[in-house]
């Protein structure tokens, strides 16, 4: 039977197992909305801004490992989606974004609501497609999902001219897809893996430095098994949190600019660095010249271009984390070889000493609400088992430092692009994917205002998200840099004329709470979590000038942290 392009799109998405579609209608996508109207399996979520559609799809993807899907109209719909696409791109998140387009015969004519969506998104997608013939549509959707979810994942845009969604074609969803120009390497080179294991076992001062790739590649179990078998210390990047259980004694916390003292010192002094699914970002390495001066480096990554990009490595291994880690475990088992116990015990002694610095200590006697205290209360009250999204700024760092993630997929934040406004819409996507789970959004009074309109979406769909606003009346991360590096000239970092968030939440139909006394933090948190079916906006009036420590200033090495 022949179907319209819009019907083919809907049927294809179902074939891909898509359950939720985050979107916003407009002229160019009306035929698609008409097709959606006439079916029930695919749930469309109406957001309030296209940026939120992409972040929600992204949150859905980060918390499930499946591709998230967003649908937006041509022109302004597509341009509003760009921030979300770039956010997903920088963090390698599988996502499909369908953008409406003017009819094929009008492309290039400066038609109403026409933009070159393919051109605009080209540098921030894994790939994009303009579908010009309805006969190619099903095949293109199949390719798009395949590309988005395999290898190093990423967003794929499908640009759909209106006539293509109206024209008809026979519908056959392809069972398989193969692209002659795209064959991601999954299996690591066995010779290299053997070399890596030998190097690992020869280490006297080893460390695992693991990142988002372990989460994306579903390798947390293998990583945990390997690290525990060897009894080597582990540190995670901001994107890798949850890839190794944070409460385990071998875990040193996050590394990098706002990483722990013990993680950064262990990195700096290690002799063998085992990097897995991490991309040596500048927030992690600090000054490249001073990075891990004594280390031989092993690097496992599915994307060859991540390897030796910033730091030259000694044993590169291109492959998926699961595959390579399984091979490593097998080789260890076979060879029955053990690490150097003596050296390792001295190494752990040294690490224990660094831990003794207690770099995350903060003033618990203060009469002001400390942001760290709030995150710790959230951790306790949710038994460390919530999905936590965040926005960007100091609050993001405190969430990363003080909420101990034991499982992957629980920590959802924008690391690569650092997109303020991400937290709330991402939380919506997470809550749709996990309707019964506790979803908390740790945010700042600056960031939350960038997508605050989504409170309306949350009411419409009854999303009981807990918003934890660490309200310091400052663009705190900016203020911190101005305090440290611009002699305290706080240019435009004070957030003046703030709304009353309690009333604001209430006017959107939610529950609002303001907490300005440290003694009330635990009680309020408990009360909010009891409101299982309500969105609660918790406005914590925190110590205004609290800073994020430790901090590695620009140009410094990992061993040159500023401590409290």
């Amino acid at each position: 039977m022949e179907l319209t392009g819009a019907e083919i799109l809907v049927r294809s998405l179902k074939e891909e197992g898509v359950t939720h579609l985050f979107g916003y209608p407009g002229g160019a996508v009306l035929p698609i909305y008409d097709a959606l109207y006439q079916q029930e399996d695919l749930k469309h979520i109406l957001v309030r801004h296209e940026q939120a559609a992409t972040h929600a799809a992204d949150g859905y993807a980060r918390s499930t490992g499946k591709a998230g899907v967003a649908l937006v109209t041509s022109g302004p719909g597509a341009t509003n989606a760009v921030t979300g696409i770039a956010t997903a791109f920088m963090d390698s998140i599988p996502m499909i974004v369908i953008t409406g387009q003017v009819p094929t015969n009008m492309i290039g004519n400066d038609a109403f609501q026409e933009v070159d969506s393919i051109g605009i998104t080209r540098p921030c997608v894994k790939h994009n497609f303009l579908v010009k013939d309805v006969a190619d549509l099903a095949k293109t959707i199949k390719k798009a999902f395949y590309i988005a979810t395999t290898g190093r994942p990423g967003p794929v845009v499908i640009d759909l001219p209106k006539d293509v969604t109206v024209n008809k074609a026979e519908f056959n969803y392809p069972k398989e897809v193969s692209l002659r120009s795209y064959n991601p390497v999954v299996e690591g080179h066995i010779g290299q893996i053997k070399r890596a294991v030998t190097m690992m076992l020869s280490a006297k001062r080893p460390i695992f430095y693991t990142g988002g790739g372990v989460v994306l590649g579903r390798g947390a179990a293998e990583l945990t098994a390997l690290a525990q078998q060897l009894n080597y210390p582990v540190t995670n990047t901001l994107m890798g949190l949850g890839a190794y259980p944070a409460t385990d004694k071998q875990f040193l916390g996050m590394l990098g600019m706002h990483g722990t003292y013990e993680a950064n010192m262990t990195m700096h002094h290690c002799d063998v660095l085992i990097a897995i699914g991490a991309r040596f970002d500048d927030r992690v390495t600090g000054n490249i010249e001073k990075f891990c001066p004594h280390a031989k480096i092993i690097h496992v990554d599915i994307d060859p271009s991540s390897i030796s990009k910033n730091v030259k490595v000694d044993v590169p291994i291109v492959g998926s984390v699961t595959n390579v880690l399984q091979e490593m475990l097998a080789i260890l088992k076979e060879g029955n070889k053990k690490p150097d116990e003596q050296a390792l015990s001295e190494w752990w002694q040294q690490i224990t000493e660094w831990r003794g610095v207690n770099c995350l200590k903060y003033d618990t006697e203060s009469d002001k609400v400390k942001p760290q205290q709030v995150v710790e209360a959230l951790y306790r009250e949710t038994n460390g088992d919530a999905y936590v999204t965040s926005d960007v700024g100091q609050h993001q760092m405190w969430a990363a430092q003080y909420y101990k993630f034991d499982k992957p997929y629980r920590w959802i934040n924008s690391g690569g692009l650092g997109t303020m406004g991400f937290g709330l819409p991402a939380a919506m996507g997470v809550q749709f994917a996990h309707p019964d789970a506790t979803v908390a959004c740790v945010t700042g009074e600056g960031s939350i205002q960038m997508c605050i309109q989504e409170l309306s979406t949350c009411l419409q769909y009854g999303l009981p998200i807990k918003i934890i606003a660490l309200n310091n009346r400052y663009l705190g991360m900016v203020r911190q840099w101005q305090e440290f590096f611009y002699d305290g000239r706080y240019a435009m970092s004070y957030m003046d004329a703030l709304p009353d968030f309690v009333k604001l939440a209430e006017s959107y139909g939610h529950v609002g709470m303001r907490i300005d006394n440290p003694a009330d933090v635990d009680g309020a948190m408990e009360e909010a979590m009891k409101l299982k079916d309500r969105l609660v906006f918790m406005d914590f009036v925190t110590d205004q000038e609290e800073n994020v420590y430790p901090m590695i200033p620009a140009g410094a090495g990992l061993n040159e942290m500023i401590l409290v």
Binding site: I118, K126, I147, S181, D303, P304, K309
Partner: protein
């Protein structure tokens, strides 16, 4: 690479977005009409060339990539050079064209257009042999490259 609309702009976009040099770029369909072949001449340190190679390979439209300069290869570029040709210069440019295996393909009373197909280097040498104020205009095609011997992109 795939002979598809947009493939060229993905390559060009990659070079500009990542700040890599493009000295020249040529592209045209191949014996297989679904594929086109592009020769890019670029420069950079070993690390940069390694990144360029990896980044190009990542593009979904790129089917196969070879660094020709790692092995024996042939480079050819065509240039059309229009020069002022009056009086003694007519004989002189004719001789120069012969030395470089160029051909005079268009003649007027006051000008020659010389076609020269050779490596980029030879073309630069030829142009250098002509006095700058005698050149009316030059158009160069950019370099196309191919491996020596039986080796090909397919093998």
């Amino acid at each position: 690479m795939e002979n598809e609309a947009g493939a060229l702009s993905r390559v060009a976009g990659l070079f500009s977005a990542r700040g890599y040099n493009i000295e020249s770029l040529t592209v045209a369909p191949t014996e297989d009409p679904s594929l086109s072949r592009m020769t890019v001449v670029t420069s950079g340190s070993e690390e940069i060339i390694e990144q360029i190679t990896k980044q190009l390979n990542k593009l979904i439209d790129v089917v196969k990539l070879v660094n020709l300069s790692e092995d024996k290869h042939i480079e050819r570029e065509m240039a059309l050079i229009k020069v002022k040709a009056v009086g003694e210069a007519r004989e002189e440019y004719k001789r120069l064209a012969d030395i470089f295996n160029g051909r005079i393909i268009d003649v007027t009373e006051a000008s020659y257009t010389i076609e020269l197909t050779d490596s980029g280097e030879k073309i630069v040498e030829f142009i250098a042999a002509i006095k700058a104020d005698q050149i009316i205009e030059i158009v160069r095609s950019g370099v196309s490259g191919i491996a020596r011997g039986e080796k090909s992109l397919h093998s």
